[in-house]
């Protein structure tokens, strides 16, 4: 598959993964093979067929909009790489 059609570097930008040159080259080769294999779905006639998003006929499962118990804040923040003032600390977003 050509790099014009499938460019690992570009896709990695989309999903926020920093790749080394070695990784980019290796994934480009490995995943081109996988995508080529996946193209066999092109040959199947799917006209008039409904898509399956998941296997069960369940739609719009709703619950009552009422207060429920939630996880303990301090316990949750223990897992945060950085927190301050009872909140998650993020890298600077605005200049």
């Amino acid at each position: 598959m050509s790099e014009k059609e499938f460019d690992v570097g570009y896709v990695a930008e989309l999903c926020r993964l920093e790749l080394s040159d070695e990784e980019t080259a290796r994934y480009q080769e490995q995943l081109s093979k996988v995508l080529h294999y996946m193209q066999q779905v092109d040959a199947i006639d799917v006209s008039g067929i409904e898509p399956t998003a998941h296997a069960n006929p369940v739609f719009d499962v709703l619950r009552k909009d009422e207060e429920r118990e939630c996880l303990d804040r301090d316990e949750v923040l223990k897992n945060a790489p950085q927190s301050a003032m009872d909140q998650f600390a993020v890298t600077k977003v605005v200049e």
Partner: protein
Amino acid sequence: MDLAKLTISELRNQYESGDAGPKDAIAAIEKAVASRDSEVGGYLSLDFEAALNEAENADLSKPLGGVPIAIKDLINVRGQPCGCASKMLTGAYQSPYDATVIQKLREAGAIPLGRTNMDEFAMGSSTENSGIQPTRNPWDLERAPGGSSGGSAAVVAANTAIASLGSDTGGSIRQPASFCGCVGLKPSYGRVSRYGLVAFASSLDQIGPMTKTVKDSALLLEAIAGHDERDSTCLKEDVPDYLSELKGDLNGLKIGMPKEYFGEGIDGEVRTQVEAAIRQLESLGGEIVEVSLPNSEPAIAVYYIIATAEASANLARFDGVRYGHRTENVEDLRTHYQRSRAEGFGDEVKRRIILGTYVLSSGYTDQYYSRAQKVRTLIRQDFENALEKVDVLVSPTSPTPAFKIGEKTNDPLQMYLADIFTIAANLAGICGISLPCGMVDGLPVGLQLLGKAFDESSILRVAHAYEQNSEWHKNWPSLD
């Protein structure tokens, strides 16, 4: 007696007779792990102290009272690590809550003990993608235990656990069960709550039991199954008394052999063993019928399009902000994301996120993702048609016995093709079980039975009837 070598039922008998108690079982597992797990590497960590505390208060009147169960490292157990065998989470995350299956296990009296190794974020078929350590097949330490629930299968086979929980997105319970010679059951989509399971592909994932016998599988499934309002895909279906369904022969049951599953590509010895097992099912009263699943060929392609698409969305949550690895010394948010994810994820996870992002990206969605969803409908209909004619389907679980460690690691496509007989059940949402049906050159062979959605009773019944008339489940690797 080595209590670690017992089944759930046998251990419960020990408790009932007063010959041993839950603390003895925990101590036996500690000893077994010390002597056998250093070679196998099935566990990532074990908290014996916490388990002993729970054993102290175990209620033996409950169905799983005092029984320790090993847990795959992607199911949340309060206060324990849940690392998904990834550098992204290992050492950086402790569960603030119990998954619903853990809550249910506790209600049944069981004690969660030990985190089992797996392919990172359940992506793989050999456990070689673990970001933490390799796990070796207890039958042959040069070989892979299968995956992604390779640790959960290996600890059961090595008798360093009584039973375990795994998860199955495309065969991740059944294939390692087959490779390690134990019983692995993937429940129907919607049978078991996934609340507290770290999501890989949400339209495919199910949690299920990995055990030494079919009876144990029924016991454990009954404990974890049932509706949960915290998982909107978990259906309001009654949970049968699976144990009582295990009785009887196979008279009147129709067993389908999908002709597409007995074509080329199956190891000759595996085929011989599976065919012998099918003859045995026939001698037990089952009627063998040939059936067809015409859309079997594209199933792997469809699966890897859908599973990677869903994975790319699910794993977007690992952003180095709320939990997990965060890179150091960056000034801007984009680099923070890119570098945290690059440092936290391993090769296969990166590959799948990239694939999934690509098949969902502008200009390619119709060609890949939407088309795959439509072919998925055809695959689902194939199973509906076949399972109208027969009660269960039978096939090998895997086309080969356990392969050598390192054999397929450089060729992801070859690794994906190993899932040929297991992935369609996830696409169709039906249930499946793998149980031992033979040995080839010292390695176990697995028999797969597939049943209608929510008809776990039939696959358990057929599996149990076969097991009671075979000796394979009494056969364990010698590691002492």
